[in-house]
């Protein structure tokens, strides 16, 4: 993979996917998880990936993050190869289970990536303080994860993901395990944080209202083979508590739902076709 450093004046887009393809080999045969994915995500843009189970959205997220290698196509993050971007720590990852280390304090958890990359203690502590303030958990710096609620743990995970001021955040259903009220609160917080740090976000979710509330664009995917069926732009302006009650919000939700549903007929065909293809190889 070439190490591109763009020479143009504009910084490169956060993510550029061309013809990305991912096949998993099973004991017998294989499954096409992603097929022909073309997508470009601009700097500071918030993009959600939504689709039914098995549509490959989590796989796509991991391909972007170089946690899984693509079988074909090109992945550029911040103008570099995905692997280079990972080695350069150009992105932060947030998982569905917060994945905090129970034996470390909240502060030590946030410092973890900095510690691993040799940042000295003073700088680490200052950065952790900053981040905890950003997510509103400064008072809990000395507590341990088991003492925090689910929402708070996720906020710590987000703070940790931002530790090295990445240009890109990759988030895999981080609010999936939270209750609705906490979820809505976290969504507002996330929009604020992403805005303040200027990071682009690729956000995987099952929830249509969540995708619409958070994003500039909603990428609708269909299952096996995982494909992008439609990209729905969302223009709701600045997100406030009132946004969820605005008619444009519902209109956008309906649009996304139609996109998901409207493709459902074709998607079923694709699912059947996919299974046939997989079985044929058995």
């Amino acid at each position: 993979m070439s190490q591109e450093t763009t020479t143009s004046e504009a910084p490169p887009p956060a993510v550029e996917l061309s013809g990305v393809h991912k096949t998993f080999a099973l004991r017998r045969g294989s499954v096409v998880a992603l097929e022909g994915i073309d997508l470009m995500i601009g700097r500071g843009e918030f993009v959600s990936l939504i689709g039914p189970s098995g549509c490959g959205k989590s796989t796509l997220l991991r391909v972007i993050g170089d946690l899984l290698p693509p079988t074909g196509g090109e992945v550029l993050v911040n103008g570099k190869s995905a692997r280079r971007a990972r080695l350069d720590q150009d992105y932060g990852f947030a998982f569905q289970q917060a994945g905090l280390l129970d034996w470390r304090t909240v502060q030590a958890n946030v410092e973890l990536p900095l510690e691993l990359h040799g940042v000295d203690r003073g700088k680490r502590q200052r950065r952790a303080d900053e981040l905890l303030q950003l997510v509103g958990l400064s008072d809990f710096a000395k507590q341990r994860p088991p003492q925090l609620s689910g929402g708070m743990q996720q906020r710590v995970a987000i703070a940790r993901a931002l530790a090295e001021s990445p240009a890109l955040l990759l988030m895999d259903e981080p609010f999936g395990a939270l209750d609705e009220m906490t979820r809505e609160h976290m969504q507002t917080e996330l929009v604020r944080i992403a805005g303040e740090t200027g990071a682009a976000v690729v956000f995987v979710t099952h929830s249509i209202p969540e995708a619409v509330f958070l994003s500039n664009r909603v990428v609708v995917m269909s299952p096996r083979p995982g494909r992008i069926t439609e990209i729905v732009p969302v223009d709701l302006g600045e997100r406030t508590d009132d946004t969820r009650e605005a008619p444009q919000f519902y209109a956008a939700i309906t649009q996304v739902r139609e996109a998901l549903r409207g493709r459902a007929v074709d998607a079923t065909d694709d699912v059947v076709a996919g299974i046939e293809r997989a079985q044929g190889a058995l």
Partner: protein, 257 residues
């Protein structure tokens, strides 16, 4: 109420113990059972008081053997487990061997080791204890080091962290509870093994030897009194391991089982 809960936990075993001892005493006295068959608790206690200095001295000897063996076995167990976790091939060879070792009567090695070293009696006995202690420490520590949850694995991958960094930040702290489980098992095992290892020839010193000698002289209250000493020694080791676990792990310490 917390007091009620503590009472509920403590009272049944204490009550059971008291009833058991009382029943024992009544049985022996009431049925006039000779002390060659079953000594009464009161006889055992008076024998214990009489011989307490001898029992203490022997307990120190056996306890020291147990301690040295335990320390040695623990250190080797942890080191080998760390290597086995880092190098799967090494782990693949060593782990089944250790599982095989766990099936073997380790005390049977005592005569072999006496031949190999045959200097004093302490070293072979300590080595037997070390082997016995090594097994649970190795197995449990390796189990702890091998557990890496998927989310932590992906997290570390996203940090491009080296294998050693993963070992240091995640595997080792995560393995601590498992290590202490192994240590607790090893600690009481160490005492028992130290006592039993004194059966296989060698100097007639230590709790095991004292028990055998007492039985040989048909002084059963003394034998039981020494057994009581061995039980207390085993308990001391176990409790120290438990306290150590609590001190290091704090809230993460597991229950006594």
């Amino acid at each position: 109420m917390k007091v009620g809960r503590v009472a509920a936990v403590l009272i049944p075993p204490i009550l059971f113990g008291v009833l058991f001892i009382a029943g024992w005493q009544l049985l022996v006295r009431g049925a006039d059972i000779s002390q060659f068959v079953l000594p009464a608790p009161s006889d055992i206690w008076s024998s214990a008081i009489d011989q307490h200095s001898g029992i203490f001295a022997d307990a120190r000897y056996t306890g020291l053997n147990a301690l040295v063996g335990l320390a040695l076995g623990t250190v080797v167990g942890v080191l080998l487990a760390a290597v086995a976790a880092r190098l799967p091939i090494f782990g693949g060879i060593v782990t089944p061997l250790v599982a095989g070792l766990a099936a073997i009567p380790i005390v049977a090695l005592a005569p072999l080791l006496t031949d190999m070293y045959s200097v004093t009696s302490s070293l072979p006995r300590r080595l037997v204890v070390a082997v016995a202690a090594f097994v649970p420490v190795f197995i449990n520590t390796l189990r702890g080091l091998s557990r890496l949850s998927p989310v932590h694995r992906e997290l570390m991958q996203s940090y491009a962290a080296s294998g050693t960094a993963v070992l240091r930040t995640i595997r080792i702290p995560g393995a601590m509870p498992h290590f202490f489980t192994g240590l607790r098992i090893a600690s009481s095992l160490a005492v028992i093994t130290a006592v039993v290892s004194e059966y296989f020839g060698g100097e007639s010193v230590g709790l095991g030897s004292r028990i055998t000698d007492s039985v040989g002289q048909s002084d059963y209250p003394a034998a039981w009194a020494t057994v009581l000493g061995a039980v207390v020694l085993g308990l001391i080791f176990y409790v120290i391991a438990l306290l150590l676990e609590r001190a290091v792990l704090g809230r993460r310490a597991t229950a006594a089982l």
